[in-house]
């Protein structure tokens, strides 16, 4: 769960991009780094091997200050998708506050997606989180490729699932911010309940989202894809 530091007046949140190997998790983080402009934005730290597969994780820190002058930090992690790195995935997943599941839309990737999603569900339970209440957004990435499932097929298959579905093409950035915003929307109620963001910190849902993605709350520029 979120890490609350009363003395430093700091709330640190952990958001994890999960999914099969090569589905575009790292690409999502890279695009977010480009697309978002919160008060505070760190560099992406990538712990990768030479062949550019994620070894442990990628990390992108974002942050802003609330009207109550608290620092809210969001640490975005990716997990290594390779089956062998399950222990790493579990470690990254532990204490997560929200999840994005990045699926690969290509028809050939159906089994990988399914196995990874099942692995996510198992690991969420293993690290002591509640899969039923954990904020989660499902992203179907690589929409630009041929031989992908149609959006209709995907929506049909995921019809009964309670999570928001976002179509994306992380390479171009399409759907990347929307995915993230959907996650923030799901995350806010939990944070508000636990930390009284609205009452104590003067941060309602819209200003929370605006602050994280970097839209001026005063000018109220509309949300949506930048493309």
């Amino acid at each position: 769960m979120a890490d609350l530091d009363e003395t430093a007046r700091k709330l640190t949140l952990k958001l994890v991009y999960y999914g099969p190997a090569m589905s575009g998790k790292t690409t999502n983080l890279m695009r977010l780094h480009d697309l978002l402009s919160p008060d505070l934005k760190g560099e992406i730290m990538t712990l990768e091997t030479q062949n550019d597969r994620t070894l442990f994780f990628d990390l992108l820190p974002l942050g802003f200050r609330t009207p109550s002058d608290w620092l809210i930090k969001l640490k975005l992690y990716t997990v290594p998708g390779q089956v062998a790195h399950d222990a790493t995935r579990k470690a990254v997943l532990s204490r997560a506050d929200g999840l994005v599941f990045v699926a690969d839309s290509q028809r050939s990737q159906g089994i990988n997606n399914a196995e990874s999603f099942q692995n996510l569900e198992e690991n969420v339970r293993r690290v002591g989180l509640d899969f039923g209440t954990l904020p989660l957004v499902v992203q179907f990435n690589k929409r630009d490729l041929p031989n992908v499932l149609t959006e209709e097929e995907i929506r049909q298959r995921w019809f009964a699932a309670p999570w928001p579905l976002v179509m994306a093409s992380a390479l171009s950035g399409m759907g990347v911010r929307e995915t993230f915003v959907k996650l923030l929307e799901a995350l806010y109620p939990v944070l508000d309940k636990n930390f009284s963001l609205s009452k104590v910190h003067g941060t309602d849902a819209q200003s929370f989202i605006n602050a994280v993605i970097g839209i001026n709350a005063v000018t109220g520029a509309p949300l949506g894809n930048s493309h």
């Binding site: 530091d5 700091k10 640190t12 952990k14 505070l40 934005k41 760190g42 560099e43 730290m45 712990l47 070894l55 442990f56 994780f57 990390l59 820190p61 974002l62 942050g63 620092l71 930090k73 640490k75 992690y77 222990a87 790493t88 579990k90 470690a91 204490r95």
Partner: protein, 411 residues
């Protein structure tokens, strides 16, 4: 609680971020690059790199940021702003590389730990399941042993029962065989004692010396007839006693069933004994034809083989719907003793035929036999290195063929 307080995603202090560099060397290098004294202090001022004392004069303070927060300051009296900024950037790069190293190593430790725990868990599970299997295997062995001994004792009991059954059959046949001569011997002896009575009455007159009374007594006692009848009566009784003796000697062949010692016998004698013992049951149903060829003496458990012959003979007798013929042939073929017992009985149906040597298989009504007769017979022949085969045709008859390797006395 956890012993390691830091995790890969914990916030890091300036000290931790710079733990990879040698403080004195970095301080000296900074001083040279900036052309003025410089020092690095943590955000709360508690830690100073290289323990350099506070600088005096016009000191500039640049924040050193990590993970969106200021974790320390670069303090220097160097005047060139761009130079100082560059120095701060270099320091932040060091810090970043320190963070990378820290996170990677902590993550590595965490992964190794979970992998190790998982390994231990599996190891324990493996040991537990091994123990379970071991216990199971041990109790299995025990249970199998128990079962085997139960089966073995049941088997023994059935063998015993079968033996008793054939002994019972034997006893019935033998009783009949013996009863007959005993009956007429007894009756002859009664007659003989009345004859003796008559001799005594004549003998009394002989003592008187009166020839007339002697002749009259002779007439009355009809000694002429008695003298004629008595020898044949005795001869008949002697024959009867001989017959009983022979039956008893035949029986001896069956009495040593449990004898472990082998003996050297002519199997034709064993066959004849079996025929004699079974004579009563055979004679009422079939004519017996013996075609016994010359056999070499065989070293064997004769009592056991006699039992086989008796068994087959009784089976043949039982197979007769109407009066028929039982034929026993013996001889040597291909250096083997071959004995064929054929009957003109009802035959065995093709469905039943493959099972007749199976234990507990019987077509007779329940209670009349355990169905071990043929099984035991085959076991006995197998123990002698021999075989038994059967061929049969419904309503025509059955032939059992026994083959035994020739084995003479020990050299």
């Amino acid at each position: 609680m956890e012993i390691r307080t830091k995790r890969y995603d914990s916030a890091l202090s300036l000290l931790e971020l710079l733990s990879g560099v040698v403080p004195d060397k970095l301080s000296v290098a900074l001083t040279i690059l900036l052309g003025a004294p410089a020092r690095v202090v943590s955000a709360d001022g508690a830690w100073v790199m290289g323990n350099i004392p506070p600088l005096s004069g016009n000191v500039r303070r640049l924040p050193l940021a990590h993970d969106l927060e200021t974790v320390g300051f670069l303090e220097t009296s160097a005047p060139d702003e761009a130079q100082v900024r560059a120095a701060a950037v270099i320091l932040e790069l060091f810090m970043r590389s320190g963070a990378r190293y820290f996170m990677a190593s902590e993550m590595h430790l965490e992964v190794v730990k979970t992998d190790y725990e998982e390994l231990q868990r599996r190891h324990e599970a493996l040991i537990a399941s091994e123990a379970r299997y071991k216990a199971l295997a041990e109790s299995l062995e025990e249970r199998v042993k128990e079962q085997v001994s139960t089966i073995a004792s049941a088997h023994r009991q059935l063998y015993q029962a079968e033996k008793m059954a054939s002994v019972g059959q034997l006893a019935a046949g033998v009783a009949h065989e013996i009863n007959n001569p005993i009956g007429f011997i007894r009756s002859n002896l009664g007659t003989a004692s009345s004859y003796v009575q008559k001799f005594r009455s004549v003998a009394e007159q002989v003592k008187s010396g009166d020839t007339v009374r002697i002749a009259s007594a002779w007439q009355v006692a009809d000694l002429d007839f008695i003298l004629e009848d008595f020898p044949s009566l005795l001869q008949e009784s002697i024959d009867g006693a001989d017959r009983v003796a022979r039956i008893v000697s035949d029986l001896k062949g069956f009495s040593n069933i449990d004898q472990a010692e082998e003996e050297i016998v002519d199997l034709n004698d064993s066959i004849r004994s079996a025929c004699n013992v079974a004579a009563n049951q055979i004679n009422s149903r079939a004519d017996l034809k013996l075609m016994l060829g010359e056999l070499p003496p065989l070293r064997c458990h004769a009592g056991h083989l006699s039992q086989v012959f008796l068994n087959l003979l009784l089976n043949a007798a039982h197979a007769m719907n109407k009066r028929g013929e039982i034929c026993i042939q013996s001889g040597v073929e291909n250096n083997q003793i071959v004995i064929r017992i054929s009957d003109t009985g009802s035959g065995i149906s093709p469905e039943v035929l493959p099972h007749i040597f199976d234990p507990f298989f019987t077509t007779r009504e329940v209670g009349s036999g355990t169905g071990l007769g043929l099984t035991v017979s085959r076991d006995i022949l197998t123990a002698h290195g021999g075989t038994i085969e059967v061929s049969s045709e419904l309503n025509v008859g059955t032939v059992f063929t026994i083959q035994l390797p020739i084995k003479q006395g020990n050299p």
